[in-house]
Symmetry: C2
Subunit: 126 residues, 2 copies
């Protein structure tokens, strides 16, 4: 192993962490909370298309992993605010880069897909 922990080793616990990070909702949530704390409904509005259940599960996992802090305020009704922890912040810049990459390179990816599909079609016809 190159490190004490090695993501390429099957039994290494880092695999579990990598699996967690490898989730588009996690990328989107950490990107937002890296900018400012937010309430549940704010997050849900910003991340278009996420269901209440999926967002709630993702936040619970992030809280359990120590990446997000959940704070309830004794208002009526109760207000719950989510903020990023220092550990979460150390990760947020990397995951945000993934989102930026997707936005910057989507046209190259679509062009590659079209060219691949056209070549597949030609192979199918010959």
């Amino acid at each position: 192993m190159k490190h004490a922990y090695d993501v390429y080793a099957q039994a290494c616990p880092t695999r579990v962490v990598l699996d967690r990070l490898a989730d588009k909702w996690i990328v989107l949530i950490l990107g937002l909370l890296g900018e400012q704390p937010m309430r549940f409904n704010q997050l849900r509005r910003e991340i278009q298309g996420v269901s209440q259940k999926v967002l709630s599960q993702a936040l619970k996992k992030l809280e359990r992993d120590g990446l997000v802090h959940r704070q309830a305020f004794a208002t009526v009704p109760v207000t719950v605010e989510y903020s990023i922890t220092p550990l979460g912040r150390s990760l947020a810049s990397t995951v945000s880069e993934l989102a930026r990459w997707a936005e910057a390179n989507i046209e190259s990816v679509i062009a590659a897909q079209q060219s691949y599909d056209a070549a597949e079609l030609r192979r199918g016809e010959s």
Copy 2:
């Protein structure tokens, strides 16, 4: 929208790309091919625990997205080598950082999980 493309918008094609990146096998494959071209069996040996089917599907997706180049050599038996494309290279450093983060911070994550689970248990008992 902040950009012409916005990963937070539900109908934006960047969501599809983000979903593709958000896959631990993709992270592990790009990390290896970013260092050097590899044959299928080499990749399979390095990425412990990946099945032949899953690796083969992941490589096909990466090839279709224009991130990985597949080259067959007319040896007996045929040798197939996978290498990273310039587009793939522009992504590889970011995804490798995710793997490095997981290796560097796994202990903090495990500690956070244990503390969360202990608190849940206390809440259940009270």
